[in-house]
């Protein structure tokens, strides 16, 4: 476990200023500390990082646009050779640096993007009438090895985004063509996909508890999963979909209950709990609106407004109660 002594944590400018605001140290001391943290070396490191993060995509975009300009004049072989040379260049740039450096990671990410560009070029050069989902599916499959080796959140995000896109396209271009399958099933599959990714991420984070926890990625995955289980029920309630409500209610209930239990009992995470409670509030508001508003007069609208205020107030109250100091068994894990 990481040390719990707050003085062992890395000094932050915002911590010093918060301490000054609270009167624990003087503003002069806080500013002297801030100047120490924001010295010439820190600024140079920041500038180097910023220039790299800005420069890499600009170079890639420039190369892409150059080929776009000359595209029609190039032969098939030249097109494929150029894109693959770009791919190899990115891999070489990544391999030339230490694996944990930002430059190596950005280089590998660029190589992963170039795989997709190569596939798109191949598809354009040799048109077979294949569906677009195959591009994304092939792309995701081909970069899987790199993603595992890189073990970097940015790479995992790209990989999952490709799987989600491939699934949505496969549903629209193959599965649902000529069949009366409810769109809710697509959201169910997306929920399962993102939910499995979330479970693996959480298990992985629990296995490496000593390393610093970055909660934004699992929180993003939970947002995707929760959105996928909420949309079908919301659509049924608001009349956008005419499916029977029971399966989607069951799916949603399973999602919010499991989310609440996991993030309240096992991994205390307030933003994830806030998302879960938000989903409940959205469904309750939609159900109230459906029951009260059609044909309602001013009085009904007023009552609905007051109920909405009450609902938001209840949501805020629940979140405050959940997030109160000592409200979790693992307060140190709250993000």
């Amino acid at each position: 476990m990481a040390s719990m002594n707050p003085l062992d944590a890395a000094a932050r400018v915002r911590t010093l200023r918060a301490l000054a605001r609270a009167g624990v140290i003087s503003p002069v001391a806080a500013e002297a500390g801030a100047r120490r943290l924001r010295g010439d070396a820190a600024w140079r490191a920041w500038a180097a990082r910023t220039l790299l993060v800005v420069g890499t995509p600009l170079v890639l975009a420039g190369i892409l646009f150059f080929f776009a300009y000359n595209w029609s004049g190039l032969s098939r072989g030249a097109k494929l050779a150029l894109t693959q040379a770009g791919l190899i260049g990115c891999v070489v740039a990544a391999a030339a640096q230490r694996a944990d450096r930002l430059g190596a990671r950005l280089g590998l990410l660029a190589a992963m993007v170039m795989v997709g560009v190569c596939l798109a070029v191949f598809g354009q050069a040799y048109q077979t009438g294949a569906d677009a989902y195959e591009l994304f599916l092939g792309w995701a499959l081909l970069i899987t090895g790199w993603v595992i080796l890189a073990d970097w959140t940015g790479a995992w995000l790209l990989w999952l985004g490709l799987w989600n896109t491939a699934l949505v396209l496969y549903w629209n271009q193959v599965l649902s063509v000529g069949r009366a399958w409810a769109d809710g099933w697509l959201f169910t599959i997306l929920a399962v996909l993102n939910g499995v990714a979330l479970a693996i991420t959480e298990l992985n984070q629990r296995r490496h508890e000593s390393s610093p926890r970055r909660r934004w990625f699992p929180e993003l995955l939970w947002a995707a999963t929760l959105t996928a289980v909420t949309i079908p029920l919301f659509a049924v309630i608001t009349g956008l979909s005419h499916d029977p409500p029971i399966p989607w209610f069951g799916l949603w209930l399973m999602g919010v209950v499991s989310g609440y239990v996991v993030y309240r009992v096992f991994i205390f995470d307030m933003p994830a709990l806030a998302l879960t409670c938000g989903s409940v509030a959205v469904i309750v508001a939609a159900a109230l609106g459906r029951a009260m508003l059609p044909g309602g007069d001013v009085g009904i609208w007023l009552v609905y407004c007051l109920m909405l205020v009450g609902l938001v107030a209840a949501l805020v109250g629940v979140l405050r109660w959940l997030g109160r100091p000592g409200g979790s068994e693992h307060p140190g894990q709250s993000s």
């Binding site: 003085l7 140079r44 180097a48 220039l51 800005v54 600009l58 170079v59 407004c305 205020v309 805020v316």
Partner: protein, 368 residues
């Protein structure tokens, strides 16, 4: 390349050695951070929930009032709006108010503000300048009276949005440069080093959003925004707006930040080769790119200096937006565009490499 960041304990030791904190400060800081007192600030997810809820229910209340015919009697609507704002001020200032009452207060403030502005618009016969002045007065009066981060954040933004709408509608686009200069001045004043009073925190956040938003309109004045303006206001576009004044203002503001942050006299700074490089880059950017790129870079630098991830995130988002707009606004062929992109990217990457090399060299040359 990673700058060496000391632990909080080590930093306090250094400050103690310099005579800036006393021997008991370590224990006091540890006790304060352990007590949870430092964590009492309302978390972002809660602020978002409260804010979104207030706007949603505020608009629902407006629907109710609209159904009740209040908009047929704007004078009555204005008085009701004033009453609602007063109610909101009372509720939000009452320390014992529960969550429901506070939420109702937020809602009333939003709906009341809109009713007041509509009433002012009615009095001014739809003149946007009148509405903008009314919103500015409301914001100035309500800001200190409504103790809520969300409302204090939204009120200055609402006033600036109305002023911008007036500039767009009436063909007063040059005023946008004045607005941008004012916003830069506020940004530099609010983000000067040192603890900021809690009262000014929402204003600082609002200014960090309103400056790039204003500059978007300046950069696109008479260009891509033309169709939008024609659709929204039916106004004659007039001559295209030059963004040069805001570019000069933005480059000057960044130069001033560099001088201030270096903590050294401007004369010393001017003699440094790296500073000259920064100046050349700034003027290059000001010449080639949109002024928004400079503003986004300013936000990124402020975000780093303030150790504020939200400000940095805002800077990155606006940088991506302005670079994208820059690409579309370049009135040239794709091959020139690609050359500019690749050339700028190569320069940036080379700059990063040079900085790393310099850092490594100074590390190895440092006497042990």
């Amino acid at each position: 390349m990673k700058a060496d960041t000391p632990s909080l304990g080590t930093l306090l030791d250094e400050l103690e050695a310099a005579g800036l904190v006393d021997a008991t400060s370590r224990a006091r800081v540890a006790a304060h951070l352990d007590s949870g007192e430092a964590k009492t600030a309302t978390p972002l997810y809660l602020r978002l929930t409260i804010g979104l809820g207030a706007w949603l229910t505020g608009f629902c209340f407006l629907v109710v009032l609209g159904l009740g015919g209040i908009f047929d009697h704007r004078g009555a609507g204005g008085m009701l709006g004033g009453g609602m704002m007063g109610f909101a001020a009372l509720v939000l200032r009452w320390r014992e108010a529960g969550v429901f009452l506070r939420q109702l207060g937020f809602t009333m403030a939003v709906a009341g503000d809109l009713l007041l502005v509509f009433a002012a618009g009615d009095l001014a016969q739809g003149n946007l300048l009148g509405m903008a002045l009314a919103q500015t007065v409301i914001s100035l009066v309500a800001y200190p009276l409504l103790p809520s981060f969300g409302l204090r954040f939204a009120l200055p933004l609402a006033a600036v949005a109305m002023v911008v709408a007036w500039c767009q509608e009436g063909g007063h686009q040059p005023f946008l440069h004045l607005l941008a200069a004012l916003e830069w001045a506020m940004l530099l004043w609010l983000f000067r080093r040192g603890p900021r009073p809690a009262l000014l925190e929402p204003l600082a956040a609002a200014v960090a959003v309103m400056l790039p938003a204003t500059v978007v309109l300046i950069d696109l004045g008479g260009g891509l925004l033309g169709e939008w303006r024609r659709w929204l206001f039916g106004a004659d576009l007039g001559p295209a707006l030059s963004s040069l004044p805001t570019k000069v203002i933005s480059a000057g503001a960044l130069g001033w930040l560099a001088i201030r942050w270096s903590g050294r006299p401007a004369v010393w700074l001017i003699r440094q080769s790296w500073f000259l490089l920064v100046v050349v880059l700034m003027f290059g950017l000001a010449w080639l790119a949109m002024s928004g790129v400079l503003v986004a870079l300013g936000l990124l630098a402020l975000g780093f200096d303030e150790d504020a991830p939200v400000l940095s995130g805002l800077g990155w988002a606006f940088l991506a937006l302005f670079l994208g707009l820059d690409y579309y606004a370049l009135n040239t062929t794709l091959v020139v565009k690609s050359g500019l992109l690749a050339g700028t990217g190569t320069l940036a990457t080379l700059g990063s490499w040079a900085l790393r090399r310099r850092e490594q060299r100074s590390f190895t040359e440092e006497p042990t």
